[in-house]
Amino acid sequence: MRKQTHSASTEINKNTEGLHNNVVKMVNTASKESVNVTVLVSVGEHPLSKRPRRAEQDARAIEIGLNLPGTQLHVMHAGAADNVQTNTVLKDYLGMGLPEIQVLNIPQEADNLTALTSNFTDSNPDIILTGIRAENGESSGMLPYVLSEQLGMALVPSITEILSVDKKAGFAELLQALPRGQRRKVRVKLPFVATVDMAAKAPRQSAFGAAMRGKITVVDAIATATTNNANTEWKITPAQPRPKRLKVVKAKTAADRFKAATAKAQGGAGKVIYNNQEAADAILKMLTDEKVL
């Protein structure tokens, strides 16, 4: 199985060599080194207390990075440096056993995307992991998509696991979270951006000692002002509970309305079977009809 995927992927590589010369070249030159994984972390926000905390998906992304053997893990935060609250949260991340977190120093109102893009074009990471959405602010979830578009990388949404990374062949195999607890296996070309789902393995606890030992390195970044000033016109209020959808009865006559209001739930009585064998048949039929077997 393993061998097959190797050969298959190299073949594809040959086929697309002409078209994706630059990508292949980059993979080849860097192939001797280990896989470079960069995790972008943000400052989370507790849903009730609104206190800053480790963002849950970002912590899971670090957990995935820590569990990948033979990789170089870089953790990066883009935001204002030397902020007390940010530093407490970054210490929480460091407490997972990270030696260092880089902080791209970007003022609050500046655009962090250009800084991130220029940083990544310099550092050439193979894998960029982020959460799906931020826990504060607009949380539109656009950042990984824009990053992948600007860097020309593939994007895999809501992954739970990185099964294997083959830097020589330039491919990685990932598990993606689907509804109803299902998983899909996808193969993706390196380099890629992936967002980490909540179904991924829960992050390890943050240890105080490790947090104290870890370093926060501030990297100066080119700050450019945000281009869209639309945000200033936004009105941000605490979330209102959404009204429940009412059952609208479109009755023309009073009798119809009366019936709709007083009608009992239909079909309350299901089928009752007393014979064991018949019952087993009926259950099997229902299971196959519902396509669960």
Partner: protein, 516 residues
């Protein structure tokens, strides 16, 4: 018997009492009165006009007699059984388009899709009053050097009234039967082998082309894990714009969306690409729509755009598969950086109980717990338990279903030996099909269940297991000989992005169970 007419006071009372359950609202036009004389029921004359008021056509035209017969011909059918023919909403020459990219999980429209279509219909019909300046501004992001937009805004200004068409985009085959009542004016269906797999990049590229050609005013996606949320953001990144995500309210030019992961409401101006939440709008229910296949002018040069309106084919089934030139195929393959390797088999007991699709739940009536676990493994069901079973130590606490445990949403829930305490029934309220296996026919679970088997649960489970193993006999032997080959098949054949049949891929666990 004599010809004497005999009164039936009860029938007369029912006929008078419009709220009586047996009352037939639109009876015969001519009925026996209380004295036995034939009486004309004047209430049934006429018809309900388009504005909901009753109209009687007294013009003496040919129809004016039919309107009497129309009612009497229906006879004693009750109003509920009548097939209501909804008025047809026609958009001949749309001034603008609202693009809706539905999830279409296994070819069907989910309620989320319907809500999104409802919102699109609202946007297409209710936006006649918005000033053109705002429209031009909104369209600006999609311009990208296309002149078509200018032409259309000019037309809108002269006409004053602008109507839009809702264009629904389906990927893969459509299995939904009645598309006309869902509010789709135009239909675009991308079909082909590649769409049966997970190929977000291809889909995004197709959408990108479509958006550049139609230049729609808004593009709506359901903000769902079935693909809408991902596709919308991909498209936005490609178009170099941004999205409004988690939109749950649209008032003219203003939208309200959830921010900060659901903690805040952001009121902002309406955007081009919107990812909308469930229940953002009522689904379309009052009108039928044409649901015409939109001839996609993908091969045309862009300067032919203003002529799109004449390109619709009336009442054509989903448009034929787009023919690609070899160059385009090579291009599309090289653009695909993600390859779908199919769904992998998941241990049912690793699935979170709240989102499991098939649960076998055991309660106080179970005597043989080994058989229960064996049955769950063979059926490929996630295990659940009632509070009693958990309290007695047969099952762990996290498997408890009910008000104090987990509220489950399974498609099929089998309750073995559970009588159905009210707390348990609350927990399974959202399950679609409930099967009860119980020795007591009068318990609450049997009242709730769609199918109940009364008898000894151990025997019924044993009978079910023999049936299932018999049925799976052939594939099982295949598995033993060629497990690897089966795996390969799986990776190519299972492409279910929906999780609708979550337990397709369970043969490995079946084997485990057989060895146990």
């Amino acid at each position: 018997m004599s010809n004497l007419y005999r009164r039936d006071p009860r029938a007369q009372w029912i006929a008078r009492n419009r709220l009586h359950p047996l009352h037939v609202p639109e009876g015969q036009l001519v009925q026996r009165g209380p004295t036995g004389l034939l009486r004309k029921n004047v209430h049934t004359i006429g018809f309900i006009g388009p504005n909901g008021l009753k109209r009687i056509d007294r013009s003496g035209a040919a129809d004016s007699f039919e309107q009497l017969n129309r009612q009497s011909a229906q006879g004693s059918n009750s109003a509920a059984q009548e097939e209501v023919v909804l008025p047809l909403h026609k958009v001949a020459n749309p001034d603008f388009y609202i693009l809706v990219v539905v999830d279409g999980v296994s070819g069907r429209l989910s309620s989320h899709d319907r809500d999104t279509l409802g919102l699109a219909h609202k946007l297409a019909t209710h936006e006649a009053h918005i000033e053109n300046g705002v429209l031009a501004e909104n369209n600006a992001a999609f311009d990208k050097g296309i002149e078509g937009n200018e032409v259309r805004t000019g037309a809108g200004a002269s006409a004053g009234e602008r109507t839009g068409a809702v264009v629904a985009v389906f990927f893969d085959a459509i299995t939904e039967e009645r598309l006309d009542i869902t509010g789709i004016d135009r239909l675009v269906n991308f079909e082909g082998n590649e769409y049966q797999h997970y190929n977000p990049e291809q889909r995004c590229a197709d959408l990108y082309k479509l958006v550049n050609q139609l230049n729609p005013k808004h593009v709506l996606f359901p903000d769902s894990i079935h693909g809408g949320a991902d596709l919308g953001r991909r498209l936005a990144a490609k178009l170099n714009t941004t999205v409004a995500s988690n939109v749950w309210k649209v008032n003219n030019n203003q939208i309200v969306c959830r921010g900060s992961a659901g903690k805040t409401d952001i009121t902002r101006a309406i955007t081009n690409i919107m990812l909308v939440l469930e229940e953002c709008s009522e689904p379309v229910s009052d009108t039928r729509h044409e649901c015409l296949a939109l001839e996609r002018p993908l091969e045309q040069s862009l300067n032919q755009l203003p002529n799109i309106n004449t390109q619709y084919l009336p009442n054509q089934e989903p448009s034929p598969v787009l023919e690609q030139t070899p160059d385009q195929i090579v291009e599309s393959i090289s653009q695909q950086k993600i390859t779908d390797l199919g769904n992998v088999s998941v241990n049912p007991n690793d699935i979170n109980l709240a989102e499991a699709g098939f649960i076998l739940s055991g309660g106080n009536g179970i005597t043989d717990w080994d058989q229960f676990h064996h049955a769950a493994a063979i059926l490929g069901a996630t295990e659940g338990a009632s509070r009693v079973a958990v309290d007695d130590g047969f099952m762990p606490r996290e498997r408890q279903v009910g008000a104090t445990g987990t509220w489950v949403t399974a498609k099929v829930y089998i309750a073995v030996g559970i009588s159905g305490a009210i707390q348990h029934m609350q927990g399974i309220a959202q399950c679609e099909k409930v099967i009860a296996v119980n020795s007591d026919a009068s318990c609450d679970m049997v009242k709730r269940a769609d199918l109940s088997a009364i008898g000894d649960s151990q025997e019924i489970l044993a009978a079910l297991l023999t049936l299932v193993t018999e049925q799976k006999g052939e594939p099982k032997s295949d598995l033993n000989t060629d497990l690897k080959g089966d795996k390969n098949n799986q990776s190519t054949s299972t492409s279910d992005t929906s999780g609708q049949n979550p337990h397709q891929a369970t043969p490995i666990h079946m084997l485990e169970a057989l060895h146990a």
